[in-house]
C-alpha cells in the first residue's frame, strides 16, 4: 500500500496526534491541601497527580488528575474521614483542566483559568497566578488554587462542634517536561 495512504489512515484514526504540535508531560508533582480549624491546622500531601498538555496552533490544553485517596495527612483515620466528607467513594478523582497560549511558557507568572472537577462538582477559577521557572529541560510551576468547601457543596467536618474553615487552599508544585 502506498505510504501516503497508510499515513493518511494513521492520521484519520489518530485525530489527536494529527492536531498536536507539541506535548507536555507531568514528571513530578506535590499537591498540598491545607485545612484550618480554630484548634488545629492540618495538611495533606499527594505526589500521585498525572498530567498532560497538548499544544496546537499556539494554544495548549492541559489536563491534570489526582486521586482523592492519594492525599496523606499522616493519619489514615483522618484521611478516610476526609475521603468520606468529599464524597471520594463516588467521585474518586480531582481533575483540573486549563488551556493557555503556547507563549505563556515565556512568562514568569502565568495567569490560568482553571476548571476544577471535585466531589461531583465543576467549578471555574479565573486568573489563578502560577510562578513559572525553567530548570534545565523541566518547567516548574508553583501556585495555590483557592478551593473552598462551599464551592463544591462539601459539608465542613467539625471538631468539638466547631467546623473547619471554608477555605482549603491547595498548594501546587509541578514539574513538566516538554515532548516534541
Amino acid at each position: 500500500m502506498d505510504r501516503k495512504i497508510i499515513l493518511a489512515l494513521f492520521l484519520l484514526v489518530h485525530p489527536l496526534r494529527a492536531a498536536v504540535d507539541s506535548q507536555w508531560v507531568l514528571e513530578e508533582s506535590t499537591l498540598t491541601y491545607h485545612v484550618s480549624h480554630p484548634l488545629k491546622q492540618t495538611e495533606g500531601v499527594s505526589h500521585a497527580a498525572k498530567g498532560k498538555g497538548v499544544c496546537h496552533a499556539g494554544q495548549c490544553d492541559f489536563l491534570i488528575a489526582v486521586s482523592v485517596k492519594s492525599f496523606d495527612s499522616g493519619d489514615s483515620n483522618r484521611d478516610l474521614h476526609m475521603l468520606q466528607v468529599v464524597r471520594g467513594g463516588q467521585f474518586p478523582l480531582i481533575t483540573v483542566r486549563t488551556h493557555l497560549p503556547e507563549d505563556a511558557s515565556s512568562l514568569a507568572t502565568i495567569l490560568a483559568d482553571l476548571e476544577v472537577q471535585f466531589a461531583g462538582q465543576t467549578v471555574q477559577y479565573r486568573q489563578i497566578a502560577f510562578q513559572h521557572v525553567v530548570k534545565g529541560d523541566d518547567t516548574v510551576i508553583t501556585g495555590t488554587i483557592p478551593l473552598t468547601l462551599t464551592a463544591f457543596k462539601i459539608d465542613p467536618p467539625t471538631l468539638l462542634t466547631l467546623p473547619v474553615k471554608n477555605e482549603i487552599p491547595v498548594k501546587v508544585e509541578m514539574k513538566w517536561r516538554p515532548e516534541r
Partner: protein, 278 residues
C-alpha cells in the same frame, strides 16, 4: 356618542397605538445579534455545545446551543458587554468577553480546547468513576466511628466514678453500699464500653488502606484496655464475693485494683491519642 367625546377617544386610541408601535421599533434599532461558530483546536465544529451569554451589567444570561455545524446565534441583545461561556462534553469550558454595539450583528467564534481525556493519562473509566456503594461504605464507616467516639466519651464518665468509688469499695473499712455502688458504676462502664467497641470493631473496613499516624496508637492501646475491660469485672466479681463473705480479698482477685488502674489509664490514653484531630 357625543362627537367631541368620540374625537377624544379616537385621538387617545391613535396615540396609544402609535406609542405601542414605536416602542418595538426603537427596541429593534437598539437590539443586536450575536452569532458564531464553536470549533475545537483542530478546527472541527463542536455540535451541541452549550452557550451561555451573560450580560455583564445585569448578570442576566441567555442560553442556547450549537447546531450540527457548530453554529450558534442569539437575537434581541441589548448593547453592552457580554461574557460568552461555552461548554461541551470532553472539552474544557472557554469564556470570552465581547462588546456588542447597538443594532450590531456581532460575530464571536470560540475555540474549545480539551481533546485530552483521562484515558490519555492512563486512567481507565473504572478508575475515574466511583460507586454509590463505595460512598455508602465510607458513610457507614464514618457514622459508626462517630457512635464509637460518643459512646467511648460517655463511658469515661462512669469509668472515672468507678475508680473514685473503688477506695470505699476495696479498702479495709468498706461498706456493702459502697461495693454495690462500685459494682453498678463498673457495670455501666462495661456496657457503654462494649457498645462503643462494637461500633469500632464492626465499622466497615476500606480496602487498600493501612493504619497510619495517631490511630495506630489508639488501636494499640485497645489491646491493653480491651482485655482489661473483660478481666477487671471478672476479678471484681471474685473480690466482691470474697468481701461479701467477710474475707480479705485474696488470690487472683487481689489483682483487680491493679488491672483496673492499668485498664483505666490505657483507656484514658486512647481517648487522648485521638482527641486533637478531625
Amino acid at each position: 356618542m357625543n362627537p367631541k367625546v368620540a374625537k377624544l377617544v379616537l385621538g387617545a386610541g391613535i396615540l396609544a397605538l402609535s406609542s405601542l408601535l414605536s416602542v418595538p421599533s426603537r427596541a429593534q434599532d437598539a437590539d443586536a445579534t450575536l452569532s458564531g461558530t464553536i470549533t475545537d483546536v483542530s478546527g472541527a465544529a463542536v455540535p451541541n455545545a452549550k452557550i451561555s451569554i451573560k450580560d455583564v451589567s445585569t448578570g442576566q444570561s441567555t442560553e442556547t446551543q450549537t447546531d450540527s455545524a457548530g453554529h450558534y446565534g442569539a437575537l434581541n441583545l441589548a448593547p453592552g458587554d457580554y461574557e460568552i461561556a461555552v461548554s461541551a462534553e470532553r472539552y474544557s469550558t472557554n469564556t470570552v468577553k465581547v462588546a456588542v454595539a447597538a443594532g450590531a450583528n456581532k460575530t464571536a467564534d470560540v475555540t474549545l480546547a480539551g481533546v485530552l481525556s483521562l484515558l490519555d493519562l492512563g486512567i481507565s473509566p473504572e478508575q475515574a468513576q466511583g460507586t454509590a456503594a463505595a460512598q455508602a461504605r465510607l458513610n457507614k464507616r464514618s457514622h459508626m466511628l462517630m457512635l464509637h467516639q460518643r459512646f467511648g466519651l460517655i463511658a469515661a464518665i462512669p469509668l472515672i466514678a468507678t475508680v473514685a468509688t473503688s477506695f470505699g469499695a476495696g479498702g479495709r473499712s468498706t461498706s456493702t453500699a459502697d461495693r454495690w455502688a462500685h459494682l453498678a458504676l463498673g457495670s455501666a462502664t462495661g456496657d457503654l464500653y462494649f457498645t462503643s467497641a462494637y461500633f469500632a470493631i464492626f465499622a466497615p473496613k476500606i480496602p487498600g488502606t493501612h493504619s497510619r499516624g495517631q490511630i495506630r496508637v489508639h488501636k494499640a492501646l485497645a489491646w491493653i484496655h480491651g482485655p482489661g475491660m473483660i478481666l477487671t469485672p471478672i476479678l471484681g466479681a471474685i473480690a466482691f464475693d470474697q468481701k461479701s463473705r467477710g474475707e480479705r480479698v485474696h488470690g487472683i482477685a487481689s489483682a483487680h485494683g491493679a488491672v483496673a488502674i492499668v485498664t483505666a489509664a490505657a483507656y484514658g490514653a486512647a481517648i487522648i491519642s485521638v482527641s486533637f484531630k478531625f
